[in-house]
């Protein structure tokens, strides 16, 4: 198991952002975290990457418990946060060298080359990040996430704000990475999941409302489109 989550909860003030979440993700799976805005996707990802602690419950990533071994987890996880934050005044290579250093990579040069190649950043490598198009910036964000060849990749809305061509390219890059890594990615677009994931975990109001393979999800109501299933599952629970 790459990721094991048991009764995970996170409270902000008196609001539960994540409420008693439990799921397992075996090694090598690409899992889509799906749900409307505010469903708790980002919060869960922030907990799994060690950015914030859970209020209660356990999360075990790569065999290490985040409550006790955060540093060990962080060594093995690559993270692309929501909105893809970057230092716009740094050069692409410079930034990746910095990322490699922060990730504790010993062979910085080859790690940077590798990441540039995997994300097809070659033509833009000598530019400043601020000069790049959104699609290339997203690739830089992905490149920093996989600079240390992590076992698990956690990507928060990796394709948001990209144009259709860039979305397709990004999906291909992620799918390729998924061949030998565990990937957990979030999105609120159904097609996204269809294009990339083996399995989908649907969240609403901090709770899991569906955890299934795509085919399994389709079988639950064969006459509806995935979009309708999504709407049914998320609006239903929300209104009660």
């Amino acid at each position: 198991m790459s990721i094991q989550v048991k009764h995970l909860s996170k409270r902000y003030g008196n609001q539960w952002a994540v409420n008693d979440l439990s799921f397992d993700i075996p090694t090598g799976e690409i899992v889509g975290f799906l749900g409307p805005n505010g469903a708790g996707k980002s919060t869960t990802m922030k907990i799994l990457t060690g950015y914030i602690p859970a209020t209660s419950g356990d999360a075990v990533v790569c065999g290490f418990n985040l409550n006790t071994d955060s540093l060990a987890v962080r060594k093995r996880v690559g993270y692309l946060p929501e909105h893809n934050p970057l230092y716009l005044d740094m050069y692409v290579t410079e930034y990746l060298q910095f990322s490699a250093g922060m990730a504790g990579v010993s062979k910085v040069k080859s790690a940077v080359e590798n990441a540039i190649e995997l994300t097809q950043l070659l033509p833009e490598r000598n530019k400043k990040i601020g000069q790049l198009s959104k699609g290339y910036r997203q690739r830089v964000g992905l490149a920093q996430a996989l600079i240390h060849d992590p076992e698990v990749l956690i990507l928060d809305e990796p394709t948001s704000g990209l144009d259709p061509n860039q979305v397709v390219e990004m999906r291909n890059v992620i799918k390729n990475l998924g061949k030998n890594k565990t990937v957990l990615l979030s999105t609120h677009i159904m097609q996204e999941v269809e294009a990339m994931c083996n399995r989908v975990i649907l969240l609403n109001h901090g709770k899991i409302v569906a955890d299934n393979t795509l085919d399994g999800l389709k079988k639950t109501s064969p006459n509806d489109s995935l979009e309708t299933i999504f709407r049914n599952l998320t609006s239903h629970v929300g209104s009660i």
Binding site: P53, P85, Y87, G101, M102
Partner: protein
């Protein structure tokens, strides 16, 4: 820690603020040392850098605050703090990397003033008749003072994601700890309380070291001061986990 340190130095030297800040510092101290009537070294006829050491603490308030204003606030504004803190690096090393980068830059800014030292040494009669003990003591005091300002600046920078707000908070706090507290010692009405408050001011210990006598109490004061503000910074920095 050194990865953060290196990145900070590089990004700072790559920005305009660095050169403006350093230039302003050297120009102002230069003007006070050599040009302004009556009080400059040549008119006073005393072979010492005292003029600079009197004015520098006030210029440094601005200088150091400008150096540290972006260090954490910018990370927060950009959101890069989330990447930084999810790397296998402890919060303490991130903060220390940033802190030492700021201190390093300040020391670097102070280096050119060694020319003033050389100049005065050559002008003095007898040759090299400068008071070395007081001068090096003052330099040490100035560096410790700047390092204290830097800890205040980093703390201010952790409070907000707005650089300008961070700059203002930092300057106000620096001025309070350096100037306001030491002035309280002169207020007759406060009597003993004023005197004890004065002991807590940065100025008091800066003056004390400047005399060229190394007193452990002063060193301990400065190190304790820095540690307190860095501790405060860490507390604020980790408040996301509450």
């Amino acid at each position: 820690m050194w990865v953060v340190f290196k990145k900070e130095i590089r990004s700072f030297l790559g920005s305009f603020i660095a050169y403006i800040v350093m230039g302003v510092f050297l120009i102002i101290t230069g003007i006070f040392m050599w040009i302004i009537q009556e009080n400059n070294v040549l008119d006073l006829g005393i072979a010492s850098l005292q003029v600079m050491f009197n004015i520098a603490p006030y210029i440094l308030i601005f200088l150091v605050s400008a150096i540290t204003m972006r260090s954490l606030s910018e990370e927060r504004r950009l959101g890069t703090i989330e990447i930084l803190t999810t790397r296998p690096v402890s919060d303490t090393s991130i903060l220390l990397g940033k802190y030492f980068a700021a201190v390093g830059l300040i020391v670097f800014t102070l280096l050119p003033t060694l020319f003033y030292y050389y100049t005065i040494q050559q002008l003095a009669d007898p040759l090299q008749g400068i008071d070395n003990g007081a001068t090096w003591g003052s330099y040490l005091g100035l560096i410790l003072l700047a390092a204290s300002y830097a800890s205040i600046g980093l703390f201010a920078s952790s409070l907000t994601d707005n650089q300008i707000v961070s700059l203002i908070i930092s300057m106000v706090l620096c001025f309070f700890w350096f100037g306001v507290l030491s002035l309280l010692g002169d207020v007759k009405a406060l009597d003993v309380i004023g005197k004890s408050l004065e002991w807590f001011s940065l100025d008091f210990h800066y003056q004390s070291i400047s005399r060229g006598v190394l007193d452990t109490r002063d060193i301990v004061y400065f190190l304790g001061f820095i540690a307190s503000f860095l501790g405060g910074t860490k507390l604020v920095f980790e408040s996301r986990k509450w």
